[in-house]
Symmetry: C2
Subunit: 147 residues, 2 copies
Amino acid sequence: MTATAEPTPDAPPTQDLLQSLAVLAGAQWRDFQAAAAHEGLTSMQAKLLGQLVRPLPMRELAALLACDASNVTGIVDRLEAQGLARREPDPHDRRVKRVIATPEGRETVRRVRAEMHAVHRALDALDPAERAALYALVEKMRPALEG
Amino acid sequence: MTATAEPTPDAPPTQDLLQSLAVLAGAQWRDFQAAAAHEGLTSMQAKLLGQLVRPLPMRELAALLACDASNVTGIVDRLEAQGLARREPDPHDRRVKRVIATPEGRETVRRVRAEMHAVHRALDALDPAERAALYALVEKMRPALEG
DNA sequence: TATTGTTATACTCTATAACTATA
DNA sequence: TATAGTTATAGAGTATAACAATA
């Protein structure tokens, strides 16, 4: 028997890999929904709030959330009503409103991220080397994911 | 300087890893929504349809979709109206209705999965060894994700 | 009594189209 | 005229509560 010089590890069937990734994404989504609900937010409200690392125009938020701009109005309205975000005028263009997170809003984002229980448990199942490998693999895919 | 015998690879900060995984999950979600829309379905309709590998009671579908049972009625109604799924009586319990995918429904599921363009592109960025490593890592996390 | 599926209700998200105020 | 944000509208997803049929 001729051993292959550098044995190619069995590449899993694409369907199996896609299924695994779907399980991971599904768990992340359920975690996020449950965490947001625990903080009194819908998943879209929490998702928008999580984008507010800096003041963002409504239009940019719509692009980041991959939804129509008209939806952003209502979502920001509800966040504003809960004191988690607010609108401010753009100094350079009076048509634009920039949305910013309040301190309470930023604290809520932190709590939601801390409440991703299944994902945190899953990462705890990996040792440091495995975590590093996972990170490297996803980062390698990232340009293709975003492009 | 004392070199560590077996140098631990730098484990990335948990926040960075969570962020990477969020980018991956986000891309999968956008892919799925776009693919479902291309087939004339909402993401929930496509998600339910994808679960129908065997006849499933409404109640089980609600559990799989992590939503209330009352929602399943409407989603199945719309799939049934499009000829992609149908209800059949359960032979052992007359309270139960089992939902099954029609051949056209199964074909639609196949097309949706094939249209996950960004994810497929991302996997193409990995070589076979990397794919195998990714699969092994996610499978190692799986019990924690599902538990 | 408990469970399955459904209906009614109210709220949120969603895209489309039309509107306003700026540019 | 083009763009940013809003409003109005209709369809879909969502949880809650109440209901009929069945276990």
